[in-house]
């Protein structure tokens, strides 16, 4: 599959402090790619270097095979983490202005904006000053600015931050539409349910270094063999050389020790004649993986 975004051996230093170290990943055409990491892990810095807002200290960051320049800007929709609007301008003026800067003809920008405002329930606010809108309404306008040029590539930094559940659902629906139209979407988020719902692949960085990278299901499976859920009758036999356990009534979560397979644990429990209603190898949620990696100091 064609690579749309390519980050190769990228590092970024601020003075003596290295905030991103030797980072490499690719985003493929038409996929939804999640960019994960704790606060301060270097995600926003990576995106800013990708978009030419900062200069990388080392490595190469390419979009469609070339460094970011203003000619690519018309094909990209970027929603930054630090986002805002010209509060003293009116809604339609702001949308048309940004649309024009992105290369959209003025009439087309006006028509698109009116359709968008209709869809997000803000048709009556078109002539309203932005400062009179609520923060949720302003976020919808920011999304409009991101999408107005019908971008092939969407780069979104915490796009649903601060949105209520209804607007979050509307936002996700619009992203799905963009994806259905073949757009490539890279988004930074801390909301793992969003990732599990729409992302095809992900990267997770910690302290500026890559910790996870691959398809969502595969990443979960990599961590999956580490826990087994068991429903049982009687007493769970101990086996300190095989697993650690946490028991809650007739349910237990077993965490295999290093080098111990789930088959060996099953054989052990069967040999001890434990009556089991369920023996399930469970992949941990992305939320759990995120917390695990964020808490590790490696």
């Amino acid at each position: 599959m064609e690579t749309v975004i390519s980050v190769d051996k990228f590092s970024k230093r601020f003075g003596r402090q290295e905030v991103v170290h030797d980072l490499s990943f690719e985003v493929r055409r038409g996929e939804v790619f999640a960019f994960l990491g704790a606060n301060g892990s270097g995600k926003t810095t990576t995106v800013r270097c990708l978009l030419g807002l900062m200069r990388p200290s080392a490595g190469e960051l390419l979009i469609q095979g070339r460094r970011y320049d203003e000619t690519i800007a018309s094909r990209i929709g970027y929603l930054p983490e630090e986002r805002g609007l010209y509060t003293s301008s009116n809604v339609l003026e702001t949308m048309t202005y940004v649309g024009s800067l992105k290369g959209v003809a003025k009439n087309e920008a006006i028509q698109w904006s009116e359709r968008f405002l209709e869809r997000v329930g803000l048709a009556d606010k078109a002539k309203e000053k932005v400062k009179r809108l609520s923060s949720g309404q302003q976020q919808k306008i920011q999304l409009g600015l991101t999408l107005i040029n019908n971008p092939e590539i969407l780069i979104l930094d915490e796009p649903t931050k601060g949105l209520d559940p209804v607007n979050r659902a509307l936002f996700m629906e619009m992203l799905e539409e963009r994806r259905a139209h073949g757009a490539t979407i890279m988004f930074i988020t801390h909301l793992m349910d969003e990732v599990e719902k729409i992302a095809d692949r992900l990267i997770m960085i910690h302290q500026g270094r890559r910790r996870l990278y691959g398809e969502v299901g595969e990443v979960r499976r990599q961590f999956g063999e580490n826990r087994i859920h068991v429903d049982f009758s009687g007493t769970l036999p101990e086996a300190k050389d095989l697993f650690r356990s946490s028991v809650d009534g007739h349910r237990a979560e077993l965490i295999p020790l290093d080098g111990v397979t789930s088959e060996r644990i099953l054989e052990h429990l069967v040999s001890r004649k434990l009556k089991m209603q369920k023996f399930e190898i469970d992949a941990p949620s992305l939320q759990e993986i995120f917390v695990m990696i964020s808490e590790s100091n490696e």
Binding site: F14, G15, G84, Y86, Y97, L101
Partner: protein, 406 residues
């Protein structure tokens, strides 16, 4: 270029559509005229008040140790006594409004002594004029010739003709018209435009729109778009002020007898070209400083207070007006001609009065171009850096650490 024009158009319309812009452009000259009139009227009314207070005095004692005062000048309220100490005591005890003591020898360093009741800060000197007038009139009465006395009392006109190396020097208001207009334009255009530029950059940062904008348009284009838009604003200001000036001139010449002989206004081609150059480069330099300040500060309020330092530096030549006018080629003029913040205004002034050599003009042009180039370069850097630090003030350490990277 298209993007620069789009940005320029937005910046221009945003400012020109605002009521505050028109309020500033139209009301500022009116404000200055009103303030000037008020100051003049206040001074006149204070003088009048002092005069009246002096006239209202019921009893003034005079001690004429020199024997110069003529009896014919003594009115009802004036009374002659001999003892200076007693005269002072009469004032202390409140029996008289004032005592004027003339020393035995007026030609010596010892002057006239006035003792008076306190009637307020401004009128403490109210009897000085009376003391002088009595003395002058008394001396005058000693002059025998009626013709001489009339001449002494009349307003004698004085006309002066000045030559410089054999050439008569023009001294009418016409000679100073170009320097005055140039300096006033510099102030109104450069200083006002600077404040608009500061507000524009602060708005991008304060509204947190800057990162979105920089992902669409390079910092250089965004800054140039703003400068172009503000140039349009400056031209609009200029045209408005010219129209305002024409109306004001026509109105005032009908009301007061004030005429400018346009034929005597010395307008040189290169003088005008250089004036435009210095105003424009001064505008670019101050704009670049304002871009830098707006980028480095987290909000407009902080940016405004920090920028006042640079505004004061830019108008500093006003405080040096006396040495600059007295000696336009002196050390003060030369030093301030090459200091970045004062350069444009001083060179503009010196050029408009024709007090600058050709080689110095060339040096001035080069200096201004260098200042503008360095200013714009630093402004772009600060703009790109400040964009990513929306809620922070850029510290010196931060700048040191990041200035080399984008």
């Amino acid at each position: 270029m298209n993007k620069i024009l789009l940005i320029a158009k937005r910046e221009y319309l945003k400012i020109v559509r605002s009521k505050s812009f028109w309020a500033i452009v139209l009301l500022l000259p009116i404000f200055y005229i009103v303030i000037g009139t008020l100051v003049s009227a206040t001074a006149q009314s204070v003088e009048k008040k002092i005069e009246e207070e002096a006239k209202e005095a019921k009893r003034i004692v005079l001690v004429d140790s020199a024997g110069v005062l003529r009896d014919s000048l003594f009115t009802e309220s004036l009374e002659r006594i001999d003892d200076a100490d007693r005269a002072r005591q009469l004032v202390v005890s409140g029996e008289v409004d004032a005592a004027i003591v003339y020393p035995p020898t007026l030609a010596s360093d010892q002057g006239i002594a006035v003792y008076a009741q306190d009637t307020g800060l401004l009128s403490r000197d109210r009897f000085s004029e009376l003391a002088r007038t009595l003395l002058k009139q008394s001396i005058l009465q000693n002059i025998e010739s009626q013709e001489q006395r009339e001449l002494f009392n009349s307003e004698i006109a004085v006309s002066t003709t000045i030559y410089d190396e054999g050439e008569e020097v023009q001294q009418g208001i016409e000679v100073f018209l170009i320097p005055i207009v140039s300096v006033v334009l510099y102030f109104l255009l450069v200083i006002l435009s600077a404040s608009f530029m500061l507000a524009s950059v602060s708005e991008e940062k304060e509204n947190r729109m800057i990162e979105t904008m920089l992902s669409i348009v390079p910092a250089r284009q965004l800054v140039w778009g703003k400068i172009l838009g503000l140039t349009g604003v400056a031209i609009t200001q200029l045209l408005t002020l010219i129209a305002f000036g024409i109306v004001a001139y026509n109105t005032t010449t009908n009301l007061i007898e004030f005429q400018i002989n346009w034929a005597e206004v010395p307008i040189g081609f290169w003088q005008i070209i250089l004036a435009v150059f210095y105003i424009f480069t001064g505008f670019l330099f101050i704009s670049s400083v304002m871009v830098g300040v707006g980028s480095a500060m987290p909000n407009h309020r902080e940016a405004q207070s920090f920028s006042s330092l640079f505004i004061i530096l830019s108008i500093f030549p006003i405080y040096l007006a006396t040495p600059l006018i007295a000696d336009p080629n002196g050390p003060v003029a030369v030093i301030t001609s090459y200091f970045p913040f004062t350069s444009a205004l001083v060179l503009l002034f010196r050029t408009s009065i024709g007090a600058i050599a050709g080689w110095e003009s060339a040096l001035g042009i080069a200096a201004m171009l260098v200042y503008v180039a360095v200013g714009l370069w630093a402004a772009h850097r600060l703009f790109a850096l400040g964009a990513m630090e929306v809620s922070k003030k850029l510290s010196f350490n931060f700048l040191l650490k990041h200035f080399r990277s984008k």
